[in-house]
């Protein structure tokens, strides 16, 4: 995977422009629709209740609770594509994978994959000015790479109680004040938004894998492999979403929005392991 040296700078520039534009466009459009609705319905008791409940339930304005999604038709197309991919490819592969490789071994693989991406987390903790957490990430990496035998185990948590500090470039961009931009559902990769798409690119670029092996197919294979392993450890997540929702596309969009905002806000996310979705 070759990147020109100006790529990160270009990415950054684009993300500011794109996210900025996208945000403005969607605002004007939905504000117009909003005004119409408000003209018809005066704020009522329901809105009062929804208002100001707890910091994150300030959805008097509907825009706050849902993503601007002007690309919905395209996103829905890829959502269906991913759904088919899941049932036709990913699920059968996962069934075989799960049958061949025992649970404990899959946890070990997950540990290895997570340990290898520690530089990404370190970089993003530093970029967000979280120096104490950066120290934890570095300690975890050093302990797990040595005592944990090249990251196969997680003694940093088990023995030393150091919890993972997951930060990615999408979160860093958010901390820097970049707007979410519109919602995007990518084929294979799944739910995202403009900001997180650039975040994803940044994470790929800062992953040591890219520097070790200069071959796109190996990097892609590594990515797919790590995703299958993650799925094998959390098999019910997607099917539960489909089972409990009336419109899985909207449910996933809302879930993605809330979950990402929650992580960016750094409310205590109870995560004992990087291996959980």
């Amino acid at each position: 995977m070759k990147f020109s040296s100006s790529l990160p700078a270009l990415c950054l520039l684009l993300v500011f422009v794109f996210a900025g534009c996208a945000k403005q466009d969607s605002r004007t459009a939905s504000n117009l629709a909003e005004d119409e609705i408000l003209a018809e319905h005066v704020q009522d008791d329901i809105d009062l209740l929804l208002d100001d409940a707890f910091d994150d339930w300030d959805d008097n304005d509907d825009e706050d609770i849902s993503y601007p999604d002007p690309l919905e038709p395209m996103n829905r197309f890829f959502f269906v594509f991913n759904d088919k991919l899941y049932y036709w490819v990913l699920k059968p592969v996962n069934t075989v994978y799960t049958a061949i490789i025992p649970f404990d071994f899959r946890v070990v693989i997950g540990n290895f994959v997570n340990n290898l991406s520690a530089p990404v987390r370190l970089l993003n903790n530093l970029l967000q000015g979280k120096f104490a957490d950066s120290g934890v990430v570095l300690s975890r990496f050093l302990i797990n790479s040595t005592l944990g035998i090249a990251g196969l185990g997680d003694p940093a948590f088990v023995e030393f109680g150091l919890t993972p500090k997951p930060e990615d470039f999408g979160q860093t961009l958010a901390v820097w004040g970049v707007g979410e931009g519109v919602y995007l559902c990518w084929p294979v990769i799944g739910p995202s938004n403009v900001r997180d798409t650039f975040g994803f690119a940044g994470d790929v670029y800062s992953h040591p894998m890219v520097y070790y092996v200069d071959d796109f197919s190996v990097s892609a294979g590594y990515y797919v492999g790590s995703r299958v392993n993650l799925l094998s450890l959390n098999p019910d997540v997607y099917e539960d979403l489909k089972k409990y929702s009336l419109d899985p596309y909207v449910s996933m969009r809302q879930l993605y929005l809330d979950y990402r905002r929650h992580k960016i806000g750094d409310q205590v996310v109870l995560q004992k392991s990087d291996n959980s979705l």
Partner: protein, 207 residues
Amino acid sequence: MTRIRSILLTVFATFFVVCSFSSPALSADPTEELRPTLDGIMAIITNQTFAGDEQKALRRSKIMDIAHRGFDFSMMSKLVLGRTWKTIDAQQRKLFEELFTKLLENAYIGKLEDYTGQVTKYTGERVKGKKAEVSTLMENNGLTLPVNYIMIDNGAGWKVYDIKIEGVRLLRNYRAQFKSIVKKEKFEGLVQVLEEKNAEFSNESTM
């Protein structure tokens, strides 16, 4: 000395009388009102007499009896529909409340039935006026899930009206879905989708 003692006594007595007259909702705290609901539901789920598919109807009705005391389903129905609630008549509201309560039963209770060995720890509570958020940790066979209950003091005590897991709110998620469906297929379309979904659940077997 006796004078001081009698003054103190009067003060205490007055305090007691005032306290006992004030409304129970004022003195009760959200965690303590949530606890019997969750404990009661878990007691039935883990009770072997009600286990299995053939006991599902009986088990669910017993669980829902408890849930109706601890959850405010009509509030949830109003909130989840948002502005659409204003546009439908009393009969439609009643129908929607029934369907949505059934959906929550299928989704929430159905999911709880998978967790048979769970322990709930109460880790915190925030109260802001008539609203409260009770944080719990649900532990089930080594997995830990932080589940927060959003409650409202509706006059009859503290009732749950939303559930939050890692920033994801159940009611808000359904609200977004319903909004999207109503936009395209109106309220009637939503009713149809709800009926289909509930039928899907009643056809499947659990446990």
